[in-house]
């Protein structure tokens, strides 16, 4: 079965620095989604990138997708303490199907 696997598992940076998280998966996908989860809370959708797209931006977030390498990256620029959370990638083999989540990257941003 396919999986999204993120690395690193944990990342600690200072405010103002950029944070890059990577995700790899095993089989073909329709789309890949990135989510944020604050401790004990629900999953907040960040960006969806479709298999025919290579890059998407949303505010300080930039997501890339390389289907030939079956990998994606999430870049958070000019990080803030409020960005401290766990970040998950999730893949959908087809539109509307179950999301397959990775184990996540825990990001800590200190001021």
């Amino acid at each position: 079965s396919q999986q999204g696997e993120e690395d690193p598992q944990a990342l600690s940076i200072q405010e103002g620095e950029n944070a890059t998280m990577n995700c790899s998966y095993k089989t073909s996908i329709n789309n890949l989604q990135w989510y944020r989860q604050n401790s004990g809370r629900g999953l907040v959708h960040l960006i969806l990138i479709r298999s025919n797209e290579r890059e998407k931006h949303s505010g300080r977030l930039r997501v890339t997708l390389d289907t030939s390498k079956k990998s994606s990256s999430l870049l958070i620029t000019a990080s803030r303490a409020a960005d401290t959370a766990s970040y998950f990638c999730a893949t959908a083999p087809q539109a509307g199907t179950a999301l397959i989540f990775g184990k996540g990257t825990t990001l800590s941003v200190s001021s």
Partner: protein, 113 residues
């Protein structure tokens, strides 16, 4: 902005008891999902629901589990006879179109004693 709402936020139940977890998806959404996250582990898919029937389910979703959309707004997950290993955070999600993001609720923390 419309939200997926889940109740209760925390449910404590004795092993062997039945529980019903409730979700109100975003009103014009058509696809509904339940996921769970055991403490410290990844989010796992349970079941998806479309057009008033189950469209996909995982091997976790055995005969102890059922889902229902009893009216136009609620979407429920029932666990018939809970086990200790059912303790987890349960998330409901919905989406309007199949190729759109899934929007998640804040979850119900289920604790089985």
């Amino acid at each position: 902005e419309p939200e997926v709402t889940q109740t209760p936020s925390h449910q404590v139940t004795q092993m062997g008891q039945e529980v019903i977890l409730r979700c109100v998806p975003i009103s014009n959404h058509l696809y509904f999902y339940w996921y769970r996250q055991i403490l410290g582990q990844k989010v796992e898919f349970l079941v998806s629901f479309y057009n008033n029937e189950i469209s996909e389910k995982s091997e976790i979703f055995d005969d102890q589990f059922s889902v229902e959309r009893p009216d136009g707004s609620n979407f429920t997950l029932k666990i018939r006879s809970t086990k200790l290993e059912d303790s987890a955070m349960y998330f409901c999600a919905s989406t309007g179109l199949s190729n759109q993001p899934q929007h998640f609720g804040d979850g119900t923390r289920l604790s089985i004693l």
